[in-house]
Protein backbone atom coordinates (compact mmCIF):
# COMPACT_ATOMS: atom_id res chain seq x y z
CA UNK A 1 0.00 0.00 0.00
CA UNK A 2 3.02 2.19 0.46
CA UNK A 3 3.56 2.18 -3.27
CA UNK A 4 -0.04 3.17 -3.90
CA UNK A 5 0.51 6.33 -1.94
CA UNK A 6 2.20 7.79 -4.97
CA UNK A 7 -1.01 7.22 -6.93
CA UNK A 8 -3.34 8.72 -4.35
CA UNK A 9 -4.64 11.42 -6.65
CA UNK A 10 -5.37 8.98 -9.44
CA UNK A 11 -7.00 6.59 -7.00
CA UNK A 12 -9.16 9.36 -5.60
CA UNK A 13 -10.21 10.31 -9.09
CA UNK A 14 -10.89 6.69 -10.00
CA UNK A 15 -13.13 6.18 -6.97
CA UNK A 16 -15.27 9.09 -8.17
CA UNK A 17 -15.44 7.75 -11.68
CA UNK A 18 -18.88 6.23 -11.53
CA UNK A 19 -20.86 7.48 -14.41
CA UNK A 20 -23.46 4.72 -14.51
CA UNK A 21 -26.98 6.09 -14.41
CA UNK A 22 -29.06 4.85 -11.48
CA UNK A 23 -31.04 1.73 -12.18
CA UNK A 24 -34.70 1.98 -12.98
CA UNK A 25 -36.57 1.64 -9.65
CA UNK A 26 -39.51 -0.06 -11.32
CA UNK A 27 -37.27 -2.60 -12.95
CA UNK A 28 -35.38 -3.09 -9.75
CA UNK A 29 -38.59 -3.69 -7.79
CA UNK A 30 -39.79 -6.09 -10.44
CA UNK A 31 -36.52 -7.98 -10.24
CA UNK A 32 -36.78 -8.06 -6.47
CA UNK A 33 -40.33 -9.40 -6.59
CA UNK A 34 -39.31 -12.11 -9.04
CA UNK A 35 -36.34 -12.92 -6.84
CA UNK A 36 -38.53 -13.32 -3.75
CA UNK A 37 -41.03 -15.48 -5.63
CA UNK A 38 -38.17 -17.63 -6.78
CA UNK A 39 -37.05 -18.02 -3.17
CA UNK A 40 -40.59 -19.03 -2.17
CA UNK A 41 -40.74 -21.66 -4.89
CA UNK A 42 -37.37 -23.06 -3.91
CA UNK A 43 -38.33 -23.21 -0.25
CA UNK A 44 -41.51 -25.09 -1.15
CA UNK A 45 -39.58 -27.54 -3.27
CA UNK A 46 -36.79 -27.84 -0.77
CA UNK A 47 -38.45 -30.55 1.34
CA UNK A 48 -39.13 -33.05 -1.38
CA UNK A 49 -36.01 -32.08 -3.28
CA UNK A 50 -33.82 -32.58 -0.24
CA UNK A 51 -35.39 -35.91 0.61
CA UNK A 52 -34.97 -37.08 -2.98
CA UNK A 53 -31.43 -35.78 -3.16
CA UNK A 54 -30.45 -37.34 0.15
CA UNK A 55 -32.06 -40.61 -0.82
CA UNK A 56 -30.23 -40.64 -4.13
CA UNK A 57 -26.94 -39.36 -2.82
CA UNK A 58 -26.99 -41.72 0.15
CA UNK A 59 -26.97 -44.70 -2.20
CA UNK A 60 -29.79 -46.26 -0.21
CA UNK A 61 -31.88 -46.79 -3.32
CA UNK A 62 -28.95 -48.54 -4.95
CA UNK A 63 -28.57 -50.89 -1.99
CA UNK A 64 -32.28 -51.66 -1.97
CA UNK A 65 -32.41 -52.24 -5.71
CA UNK A 66 -29.30 -54.40 -5.58
CA UNK A 67 -30.71 -56.44 -2.69
CA UNK A 68 -34.05 -57.00 -4.42
CA UNK A 69 -32.35 -57.92 -7.67
CA UNK A 70 -29.96 -60.29 -5.92
CA UNK A 71 -32.83 -61.89 -4.04
CA UNK A 72 -34.87 -62.40 -7.20
CA UNK A 73 -31.89 -63.81 -9.05
CA UNK A 74 -30.97 -66.08 -6.16
CA UNK A 75 -34.53 -67.35 -5.90
CA UNK A 76 -34.62 -67.98 -9.63
CA UNK A 77 -31.33 -69.83 -9.55
CA UNK A 78 -32.39 -71.87 -6.51
CA UNK A 79 -35.72 -72.86 -8.02
CA UNK A 80 -34.05 -73.76 -11.30
CA UNK A 81 -31.33 -75.79 -9.66
CA UNK A 82 -33.79 -77.54 -7.33
CA UNK A 83 -36.01 -78.41 -10.27
CA UNK A 84 -33.07 -79.72 -12.26
CA UNK A 85 -31.76 -81.64 -9.26
CA UNK A 86 -35.06 -83.42 -8.69
CA UNK A 87 -34.27 -86.05 -11.29
CA UNK A 88 -30.62 -86.37 -10.29
CA UNK A 89 -29.23 -89.79 -9.40
CA UNK A 90 -26.32 -90.70 -7.15
CA UNK A 91 -23.12 -89.74 -8.91
CA UNK A 92 -24.74 -86.74 -10.55
CA UNK A 93 -23.47 -83.29 -9.71
CA UNK A 94 -26.88 -82.18 -8.52
CA UNK A 95 -27.62 -85.22 -6.40
CA UNK A 96 -26.48 -83.62 -3.11
CA UNK A 97 -28.72 -80.69 -3.90
CA UNK A 98 -31.61 -83.05 -4.48
CA UNK A 99 -31.02 -84.58 -1.06
CA UNK A 100 -30.67 -81.15 0.51
CA UNK A 101 -33.97 -80.02 -0.96
CA UNK A 102 -35.66 -83.18 0.31
CA UNK A 103 -34.27 -82.66 3.79
CA UNK A 104 -35.47 -79.08 3.71
CA UNK A 105 -38.93 -80.19 2.65
CA UNK A 106 -39.07 -82.67 5.52
CA UNK A 107 -37.91 -80.03 8.00
CA UNK A 108 -40.48 -77.54 6.82
CA UNK A 109 -43.36 -79.97 7.42
CA UNK A 110 -44.48 -80.25 11.02
CA UNK A 111 -47.40 -82.67 10.86
CA UNK A 112 -46.10 -86.23 11.40
CA UNK A 113 -48.46 -87.81 8.89
CA UNK A 114 -47.45 -85.39 6.14
CA UNK A 115 -43.83 -85.84 7.07
CA UNK A 116 -44.17 -89.61 6.82
CA UNK A 117 -45.93 -89.32 3.46
CA UNK A 118 -43.07 -87.20 2.16
CA UNK A 119 -40.46 -89.60 3.49
CA UNK A 120 -42.20 -92.59 1.97
CA UNK A 121 -42.28 -90.83 -1.40
CA UNK A 122 -38.58 -90.09 -1.04
CA UNK A 123 -37.96 -93.74 -0.18
CA UNK A 124 -39.83 -94.69 -3.36
CA UNK A 125 -37.60 -92.31 -5.26
CA UNK A 126 -34.53 -93.97 -3.77
CA UNK A 127 -35.83 -97.37 -4.85
CA UNK A 128 -36.29 -96.10 -8.39
CA UNK A 129 -32.73 -94.80 -8.32
CA UNK A 130 -31.47 -98.14 -7.01
CA UNK A 131 -33.33 -99.90 -9.80
CA UNK A 132 -31.77 -97.64 -12.41
CA UNK A 133 -28.29 -98.07 -10.94
CA UNK A 134 -28.69 -101.85 -10.90
CA UNK A 135 -29.53 -101.73 -14.58
CA UNK A 136 -26.39 -99.78 -15.32
CA UNK A 137 -24.23 -101.92 -13.01
CA UNK A 138 -23.14 -98.83 -11.13
CA UNK A 139 -22.32 -100.51 -7.84
CA UNK A 140 -20.48 -97.63 -6.33
CA UNK A 141 -23.38 -95.25 -6.65
CA UNK A 142 -25.83 -97.97 -5.81
CA UNK A 143 -24.33 -98.19 -2.35
CA UNK A 144 -24.84 -94.47 -2.01
CA UNK A 145 -28.46 -94.84 -3.00
CA UNK A 146 -28.90 -97.70 -0.56
CA UNK A 147 -27.42 -95.64 2.24
CA UNK A 148 -29.80 -92.85 1.37
CA UNK A 149 -32.68 -95.28 1.37
CA UNK A 150 -31.59 -96.67 4.75
CA UNK A 151 -31.40 -93.20 6.23
CA UNK A 152 -34.87 -92.39 4.94
CA UNK A 153 -36.28 -95.53 6.46
CA UNK A 154 -34.53 -94.80 9.77
CA UNK A 155 -36.06 -91.38 9.77
CA UNK A 156 -39.49 -92.86 9.18
CA UNK A 157 -38.91 -95.27 12.03
CA UNK A 158 -37.79 -92.49 14.29
CA UNK A 159 -40.91 -90.48 13.62
CA UNK A 160 -43.13 -93.46 14.22
CA UNK A 161 -41.31 -94.21 17.46
CA UNK A 162 -41.69 -90.67 18.64
CA UNK A 163 -45.40 -90.75 17.90
CA UNK A 164 -45.75 -94.02 19.82
CA UNK A 165 -43.88 -92.61 22.74
CA UNK A 166 -46.13 -89.61 22.88
CA UNK A 167 -49.19 -91.84 22.72
CA UNK A 168 -47.72 -94.17 25.31
CA UNK A 169 -47.26 -91.42 27.83
CA UNK A 170 -50.97 -90.68 27.69
CA UNK A 171 -51.88 -94.34 28.03
CA UNK A 172 -49.58 -94.76 31.01
CA UNK A 173 -51.06 -91.75 32.71
CA UNK A 174 -54.63 -92.99 32.26
CA UNK A 175 -53.66 -96.47 33.33
CA UNK A 176 -52.08 -95.19 36.51
CA UNK A 177 -55.16 -93.21 37.28
CA UNK A 178 -57.36 -96.27 36.75
CA UNK A 179 -55.13 -98.33 39.03
CA UNK A 180 -55.34 -95.69 41.74
CA UNK A 181 -59.10 -95.60 41.39
CA UNK A 182 -59.27 -99.37 41.63
CA UNK A 183 -57.17 -99.36 44.80
CA UNK A 184 -59.39 -96.68 46.24
CA UNK A 185 -62.49 -98.73 45.48
CA UNK A 186 -60.88 -101.80 47.06
CA UNK A 187 -60.32 -99.87 50.25
CA UNK A 188 -63.88 -98.64 50.25
CA UNK A 189 -65.11 -102.15 49.57
CA UNK A 190 -63.53 -103.36 52.82
CA UNK A 191 -65.45 -100.81 54.84
CA UNK A 192 -68.91 -101.14 53.37
CA UNK A 193 -71.54 -103.68 54.41
CA UNK A 194 -71.65 -106.99 52.57
CA UNK A 195 -74.85 -106.16 50.69
CA UNK A 196 -73.20 -103.15 49.13
CA UNK A 197 -70.10 -105.00 47.96
CA UNK A 198 -71.53 -106.49 44.72
CA UNK A 199 -72.06 -103.01 43.34
CA UNK A 200 -68.49 -102.10 44.21
CA UNK A 201 -67.26 -105.36 42.70
CA UNK A 202 -69.02 -104.47 39.45
CA UNK A 203 -67.39 -101.07 39.47
CA UNK A 204 -63.98 -102.57 40.08
CA UNK A 205 -64.57 -105.08 37.31
CA UNK A 206 -65.52 -102.31 34.96
CA UNK A 207 -62.27 -100.53 35.74
CA UNK A 208 -60.35 -103.73 35.07
CA UNK A 209 -62.11 -104.15 31.73
CA UNK A 210 -61.28 -100.62 30.81
CA UNK A 211 -57.74 -101.10 31.96
CA UNK A 212 -57.37 -104.18 29.81
CA UNK A 213 -58.98 -102.50 26.83
CA UNK A 214 -56.48 -99.73 27.02
CA UNK A 215 -53.49 -101.92 27.52
CA UNK A 216 -54.53 -104.88 25.41
CA UNK A 217 -56.47 -103.81 22.33
CA UNK A 218 -58.88 -106.22 20.68
CA UNK A 219 -57.81 -108.33 17.77
CA UNK A 220 -59.71 -106.23 15.26
CA UNK A 221 -57.94 -103.13 16.40
CA UNK A 222 -54.58 -104.72 16.81
CA UNK A 223 -53.33 -103.80 13.36
CA UNK A 224 -54.23 -100.17 13.68
CA UNK A 225 -53.64 -99.33 17.30
CA UNK A 226 -50.14 -98.77 18.48
CA UNK A 227 -48.64 -101.19 20.89
CA UNK A 228 -47.98 -100.02 24.41
CA UNK A 229 -44.93 -99.98 26.56
CA UNK A 230 -46.22 -100.66 30.01
CA UNK A 231 -45.59 -104.11 31.42
CA UNK A 232 -48.53 -106.35 30.87
CA UNK A 233 -49.17 -109.81 32.11
CA UNK A 234 -49.70 -111.21 28.66
CA UNK A 235 -49.40 -110.26 25.00
CA UNK A 236 -51.92 -110.68 22.28
CA UNK A 237 -51.56 -113.65 20.04
CA UNK A 238 -50.16 -113.08 16.63
CA UNK A 239 -52.29 -113.53 13.62
CA UNK A 240 -51.25 -117.13 13.09
CA UNK A 241 -52.35 -118.12 16.59
CA UNK A 242 -48.93 -119.41 17.59
CA UNK A 243 -49.04 -118.06 21.09
CA UNK A 244 -48.13 -114.73 22.39
CA UNK A 245 -46.22 -112.46 20.13
CA UNK A 246 -43.02 -110.76 21.05
CA UNK A 247 -43.28 -107.70 23.15
CA UNK A 248 -44.43 -105.16 20.61
CA UNK A 249 -42.18 -102.19 20.90
CA UNK A 250 -39.89 -100.76 23.49
CA UNK A 251 -40.84 -97.28 22.46
CA UNK A 252 -39.26 -95.51 25.36
CA UNK A 253 -35.96 -97.24 25.06
CA UNK A 254 -34.24 -95.04 22.52
CA UNK A 255 -33.15 -95.27 18.95
CA UNK A 256 -35.30 -96.49 16.16
CA UNK A 257 -33.46 -99.77 15.98
CA UNK A 258 -35.27 -100.82 19.15
CA UNK A 259 -38.56 -100.40 17.43
CA UNK A 260 -38.33 -103.63 15.53
CA UNK A 261 -38.70 -107.06 16.88
CA UNK A 262 -35.89 -108.39 14.78
CA UNK A 263 -33.12 -106.61 13.00
CA UNK A 264 -33.61 -102.88 13.04
CA UNK A 265 -33.89 -102.11 9.36
CA UNK A 266 -33.56 -104.30 6.39
CA UNK A 267 -32.46 -101.62 4.00
CA UNK A 268 -31.23 -103.91 1.29
CA UNK A 269 -34.01 -106.36 1.17
CA UNK A 270 -37.20 -104.56 0.89
CA UNK A 271 -39.54 -101.70 1.40
CA UNK A 272 -39.98 -99.68 4.55
CA UNK A 273 -42.33 -102.26 5.98
CA UNK A 274 -39.36 -103.86 7.76
CA UNK A 275 -39.16 -101.07 10.24
CA UNK A 276 -41.71 -102.20 12.78
CA UNK A 277 -43.34 -105.38 13.84
CA UNK A 278 -46.82 -104.02 13.26
CA UNK A 279 -46.44 -100.56 11.88
CA UNK A 280 -49.40 -98.28 11.75
CA UNK A 281 -49.80 -95.15 9.65
CA UNK A 282 -49.98 -97.02 6.39
CA UNK A 283 -46.52 -98.48 6.40
CA UNK A 284 -46.62 -101.86 4.63
CA UNK A 285 -47.14 -104.64 7.14
CA UNK A 286 -45.77 -107.64 5.34
CA UNK A 287 -42.61 -109.16 6.53
CA UNK A 288 -39.71 -109.14 4.14
CA UNK A 289 -38.75 -112.33 2.52
CA UNK A 290 -35.06 -111.92 2.95
CA UNK A 291 -34.79 -111.40 6.68
CA UNK A 292 -32.80 -114.59 7.15
CA UNK A 293 -29.91 -113.02 5.41
CA UNK A 294 -30.06 -109.77 7.25
CA UNK A 295 -27.01 -108.68 9.10
Amino acid sequence: MKNLYHFRKIIRALSRLDDAPPSNPLKRNSARRTYLEHIGRLRAEKGTHLIRRRFISSGLWRSIAASVLTLVLAMGVLVGVADAADSARPGDLLYPIDRGVENLQVRLVSAPDRKLTLLVSFADERLVEIQQLIETNDEENMSIALDAYRITILTIAQIITDEFARHDLLVTKIDNQLLAQEEHLQKIRLRVPAQARPALDRAIETIRIGHEKILLPDDDTESTNPPVATPTPEYPSDSSGNGPAEPPVNVTAGPPSNVTAGPPVNVTAGPPSNVTAGPPHGVPAERPTGTDNDP
Partner: protein, 193 residues
Protein backbone atom coordinates in the same frame (compact mmCIF):
# COMPACT_ATOMS: atom_id res chain seq x y z
CA UNK B 1 -6.88 -21.06 -9.12
CA UNK B 2 -4.76 -20.11 -6.15
CA UNK B 3 -6.07 -16.89 -4.86
CA UNK B 4 -5.25 -15.74 -1.36
CA UNK B 5 -7.14 -17.10 1.58
CA UNK B 6 -9.12 -14.41 3.28
CA UNK B 7 -11.56 -16.03 5.62
CA UNK B 8 -15.01 -14.57 5.74
CA UNK B 9 -15.98 -12.89 8.97
CA UNK B 10 -18.28 -14.61 11.42
CA UNK B 11 -21.05 -12.29 10.37
CA UNK B 12 -20.60 -13.15 6.71
CA UNK B 13 -20.36 -16.85 7.51
CA UNK B 14 -23.65 -16.60 9.35
CA UNK B 15 -25.17 -14.82 6.39
CA UNK B 16 -23.89 -17.51 4.03
CA UNK B 17 -25.31 -20.26 6.23
CA UNK B 18 -28.70 -18.58 6.27
CA UNK B 19 -28.54 -18.18 2.51
CA UNK B 20 -27.85 -21.88 2.10
CA UNK B 21 -31.00 -22.54 4.13
CA UNK B 22 -32.82 -20.24 1.68
CA UNK B 23 -33.58 -17.82 4.47
CA UNK B 24 -35.70 -15.14 2.84
CA UNK B 25 -34.51 -12.29 5.04
CA UNK B 26 -30.86 -13.05 4.37
CA UNK B 27 -31.38 -13.37 0.64
CA UNK B 28 -33.38 -10.16 0.55
CA UNK B 29 -30.61 -8.38 2.40
CA UNK B 30 -28.09 -9.62 -0.15
CA UNK B 31 -30.26 -8.42 -3.00
CA UNK B 32 -30.68 -4.99 -1.46
CA UNK B 33 -26.99 -4.66 -0.69
CA UNK B 34 -25.58 -5.78 -4.03
CA UNK B 35 -28.14 -5.01 -6.71
CA UNK B 36 -26.99 -1.48 -7.36
CA UNK B 37 -23.21 -2.09 -7.26
CA UNK B 38 -23.56 -5.08 -9.57
CA UNK B 39 -25.73 -3.12 -11.93
CA UNK B 40 -23.09 -0.37 -12.08
CA UNK B 41 -20.35 -2.90 -12.61
CA UNK B 42 -22.14 -4.54 -15.50
CA UNK B 43 -23.16 -1.20 -16.95
CA UNK B 44 -19.49 -0.24 -17.11
CA UNK B 45 -18.95 -3.09 -19.54
CA UNK B 46 -22.10 -2.81 -21.61
CA UNK B 47 -22.98 0.88 -21.41
CA UNK B 48 -26.60 -0.16 -21.72
CA UNK B 49 -28.79 0.24 -18.66
CA UNK B 50 -31.60 -2.16 -19.59
CA UNK B 51 -29.21 -4.96 -20.45
CA UNK B 52 -27.28 -4.24 -17.29
CA UNK B 53 -30.48 -4.48 -15.24
CA UNK B 54 -31.44 -7.76 -16.89
CA UNK B 55 -28.03 -9.23 -16.29
CA UNK B 56 -28.05 -8.04 -12.68
CA UNK B 57 -31.32 -9.90 -12.17
CA UNK B 58 -29.65 -12.91 -13.80
CA UNK B 59 -26.87 -12.76 -11.22
CA UNK B 60 -29.37 -13.18 -8.39
CA UNK B 61 -31.31 -15.86 -10.22
CA UNK B 62 -28.03 -17.70 -10.70
CA UNK B 63 -27.34 -17.31 -7.00
CA UNK B 64 -30.66 -18.89 -6.05
CA UNK B 65 -30.27 -21.75 -8.49
CA UNK B 66 -26.82 -22.54 -7.18
CA UNK B 67 -27.95 -22.37 -3.56
CA UNK B 68 -30.86 -24.69 -4.35
CA UNK B 69 -28.49 -27.42 -5.49
CA UNK B 70 -26.09 -26.91 -2.60
CA UNK B 71 -23.56 -24.88 -4.56
CA UNK B 72 -23.01 -21.15 -4.59
CA UNK B 73 -20.66 -18.95 -2.56
CA UNK B 74 -18.65 -20.73 0.11
CA UNK B 75 -16.45 -18.00 1.56
CA UNK B 76 -16.55 -14.97 -0.72
CA UNK B 77 -20.09 -13.79 -1.22
CA UNK B 78 -19.18 -10.43 -2.70
CA UNK B 79 -16.45 -11.84 -4.90
CA UNK B 80 -18.75 -14.67 -6.02
CA UNK B 81 -21.41 -12.21 -7.10
CA UNK B 82 -18.87 -10.08 -8.97
CA UNK B 83 -17.44 -13.13 -10.66
CA UNK B 84 -20.88 -14.11 -11.95
CA UNK B 85 -21.57 -10.54 -13.01
CA UNK B 86 -18.22 -10.35 -14.76
CA UNK B 87 -18.85 -13.59 -16.63
CA UNK B 88 -22.34 -12.57 -17.65
CA UNK B 89 -21.12 -9.19 -18.86
CA UNK B 90 -18.28 -10.72 -20.87
CA UNK B 91 -20.62 -13.31 -22.36
CA UNK B 92 -23.08 -10.63 -23.30
CA UNK B 93 -20.33 -8.58 -24.92
CA UNK B 94 -19.18 -11.52 -26.95
CA UNK B 95 -22.69 -12.48 -27.89
CA UNK B 96 -23.96 -9.14 -29.03
CA UNK B 97 -20.63 -7.76 -30.20
CA UNK B 98 -22.15 -4.52 -29.26
CA UNK B 99 -20.14 -1.79 -27.68
CA UNK B 100 -21.01 1.80 -27.63
CA UNK B 101 -17.48 2.61 -26.54
CA UNK B 102 -14.64 0.93 -28.33
CA UNK B 103 -11.53 0.57 -26.22
CA UNK B 104 -8.94 3.02 -27.25
CA UNK B 105 -5.28 2.27 -27.42
CA UNK B 106 -2.44 4.47 -26.29
CA UNK B 107 -1.52 5.60 -29.76
CA UNK B 108 -4.96 6.90 -30.49
CA UNK B 109 -4.96 9.00 -27.33
CA UNK B 110 -1.47 10.22 -27.75
CA UNK B 111 -2.26 11.04 -31.31
CA UNK B 112 -5.18 13.14 -30.12
CA UNK B 113 -3.77 15.55 -27.59
CA UNK B 114 -6.74 17.85 -27.99
CA UNK B 115 -8.64 15.86 -25.37
CA UNK B 116 -6.07 16.58 -22.72
CA UNK B 117 -5.67 20.15 -23.68
CA UNK B 118 -9.33 20.83 -23.21
CA UNK B 119 -8.94 20.31 -19.45
CA UNK B 120 -7.01 22.78 -17.41
CA UNK B 121 -5.04 21.19 -14.47
CA UNK B 122 -7.98 19.03 -13.40
CA UNK B 123 -9.02 15.47 -13.97
CA UNK B 124 -12.14 15.17 -15.94
CA UNK B 125 -14.16 12.05 -16.13
CA UNK B 126 -13.78 11.96 -19.86
CA UNK B 127 -10.03 12.00 -19.60
CA UNK B 128 -9.96 9.35 -16.98
CA UNK B 129 -12.22 7.18 -19.07
CA UNK B 130 -9.83 7.55 -21.92
CA UNK B 131 -6.98 6.72 -19.61
CA UNK B 132 -8.75 3.63 -18.40
CA UNK B 133 -9.38 2.46 -21.90
CA UNK B 134 -5.72 2.82 -22.62
CA UNK B 135 -5.08 0.00 -20.16
CA UNK B 136 -5.25 -3.67 -20.88
CA UNK B 137 -8.59 -5.24 -20.04
CA UNK B 138 -7.15 -7.10 -17.04
CA UNK B 139 -5.56 -3.97 -15.63
CA UNK B 140 -8.82 -2.11 -16.10
CA UNK B 141 -10.88 -4.90 -14.48
CA UNK B 142 -8.58 -4.93 -11.46
CA UNK B 143 -8.60 -1.17 -11.02
CA UNK B 144 -12.38 -0.91 -11.37
CA UNK B 145 -13.05 -3.68 -8.90
CA UNK B 146 -10.46 -2.31 -6.50
CA UNK B 147 -11.13 1.41 -6.54
CA UNK B 148 -14.69 1.73 -7.79
CA UNK B 149 -16.27 -1.28 -6.09
CA UNK B 150 -14.00 -1.61 -3.10
CA UNK B 151 -13.09 -5.29 -3.38
CA UNK B 152 -10.07 -6.63 -1.52
CA UNK B 153 -7.22 -8.13 -3.49
CA UNK B 154 -8.28 -11.64 -2.49
CA UNK B 155 -11.83 -10.98 -3.63
CA UNK B 156 -10.61 -9.59 -6.94
CA UNK B 157 -8.44 -12.66 -7.37
CA UNK B 158 -11.48 -14.87 -6.77
CA UNK B 159 -13.75 -12.86 -9.04
CA UNK B 160 -11.29 -12.75 -11.92
CA UNK B 161 -9.81 -16.24 -11.30
CA UNK B 162 -6.23 -15.18 -10.82
CA UNK B 163 -3.56 -15.10 -8.12
CA UNK B 164 -3.39 -12.36 -5.55
CA UNK B 165 0.15 -11.65 -6.72
CA UNK B 166 -1.14 -11.17 -10.24
CA UNK B 167 -3.82 -8.83 -8.96
CA UNK B 168 -1.23 -6.73 -7.16
CA UNK B 169 1.01 -6.61 -10.21
CA UNK B 170 -1.83 -5.68 -12.55
CA UNK B 171 -2.96 -3.03 -10.13
CA UNK B 172 0.49 -1.46 -9.88
CA UNK B 173 1.14 -1.57 -13.60
CA UNK B 174 -2.32 -0.20 -14.32
CA UNK B 175 -1.79 2.73 -12.03
CA UNK B 176 1.60 3.36 -13.57
CA UNK B 177 0.09 3.30 -17.05
CA UNK B 178 -2.62 5.69 -15.96
CA UNK B 179 -0.11 8.12 -14.55
CA UNK B 180 1.98 7.87 -17.68
CA UNK B 181 -1.00 8.53 -19.84
CA UNK B 182 -2.30 11.39 -17.74
CA UNK B 183 1.13 12.99 -17.58
CA UNK B 184 1.31 12.93 -21.33
CA UNK B 185 -1.93 14.80 -21.63
CA UNK B 186 -0.93 17.09 -18.75
CA UNK B 187 -3.90 16.06 -16.67
CA UNK B 188 -1.80 16.14 -13.52
CA UNK B 189 0.66 18.70 -12.40
CA UNK B 190 4.17 17.52 -11.74
CA UNK B 191 3.51 17.64 -7.99
CA UNK B 192 0.59 15.30 -8.26
CA UNK B 193 2.63 12.78 -10.15
Amino acid sequence: MAHGKKRASAEEQDLLQRMRRLDEAALSAVFDAYYEPLYRYIFRYLRHSQTAEDLTADVFRNLLEQLAIGQGPKDYLKAWLYRVAHNLAIDELRRSKYRDHEPLDDNQHVADPQVGKQVESSITKQMLHCALHSLTSKQRDVLILKFLHGLENEEIAYALRMNVGTVKALQYRGLQALRRYLSKVNAFSEDDL
